[in-house]
Amino acid sequence: MATSTYNLIASQVVGAGGVSSVTFSSVPQSYTDLLLKVSGRMNTSGGEYIQLSFNGVTTNLNGLNLYGYTTNASSYRDSSVIGLGIFNGTSSQPNTFGIADVYIPNYTSSNYKSVSVDMINENNSSSTNSAYQYLTAGLWSAGSAITSITLTAQTTSILQNSTFYLYGIKNS
């Protein structure tokens, strides 16, 4: 049997009361790439970002976003954060969570760290701004290997039953 090269490193499920952030610490340095899968719901009416940072550092981050909602598509740049997109909030239907895939290649290198994010939230509502699709290019302009990953609510908290799964992928 071949050795698995796509492995779950760690997972976290948010409990009652929610949390302001989730951290994966002591990320093993034995993989080539990381893949983070997020299902989240936010403690604010219209939803908000979950923001990504590394190694406890919240500087030298930027994100370039392509997003679509209702009948519009547009783009903007965040000059100081990598947002994973706007996750569902408390005005969304119950049990409704946004999801995101976050791919981080070559995370142990001394290069600046590039991040690719695909995110959606859906709510079966015809209201403007009730559902989004986000595609984001993120960059952490630092040469340190990634040893911890933190996901932080933009202003409020991440609600119960939100989930975070971190996978490692080896290229050999």
């Binding site: 698995s4 796509y6 080539t32 370039l64 392509l66 290649p105 290019a137």
Partner: protein, 168 residues
């Protein structure tokens, strides 16, 4: 009993000195889909990342690119093109390493034309976000992939890995 591995590295190339092309030859036909992960930096701005399969440089490719540059979203379509696109036409970063995931669906099926999906992220100044649907009008199984740039080289430290995904 452990389940069989279904996401398997086929080959990886880490660039030791600048090169214009990267080739994956003799791709095994034992998987269902392929995933190519590129983490490249370019030597010259204003260039894209492209690919050709099976040595085909004919006008047998078409694509639709959805992209954004930080201020606007746009779409472009190309037909009878001579390559498939991994990034938009100027998407190769030169100040950092970008992230590009390219999926080759049903690559070994010799009864269908091939669809190739690429998702690119380059947050450089002047960078962009891309989603590209490529189409190769050929039923041959994909056995080789040539990755290149429309100008300049891939710089030292650029990394390219081809994975196979088995449906069973």
């Amino acid at each position: 009993m452990a389940s069989a591995q279904t996401y398997t590295p086929i080959a990886t190339q880490t660039i030791g000195s600048a090169v214009a092309t990267v080739t994956f030859n003799s791709i095994p036909q034992t998987y269902t889909d392929l995933v190519l992960i590129c983490n490249p930096e370019g030597s010259a701005s204003g260039n894209g990342i492209i690919l050709n399969v099976n040595g085909d440089f004919g006008s047998n490719y078409s694509d639709t690119m959805l992209r954004a540059n930080g201020s606007a979203a746009s779409s472009v379509r190309q037909t009878n093109n001579s390559c498939a696109n991994i990034s938009n036409l100027s998407g190769l970063p030169t100040a950092s390493f970008g992230t590009y995931e390219t999926h080759f669906m049903n690559y070994s099926n010799s009864s269908i034309y091939k669809t190739i999906l690429s998702r690119g992220s380059n947050a450089d100044s002047g960078g962009g976000v891309d989603v590209i649907v490529n189409f190769w009008r050929n039923t041959n199984a994909i056995t080789t992939i040539l990755v290149s740039t429309t100008g300049g080289n891939f710089m030292t430290g650029s990394m390219f890995t081809l994975y196979g995904i088995a449906a069973a």
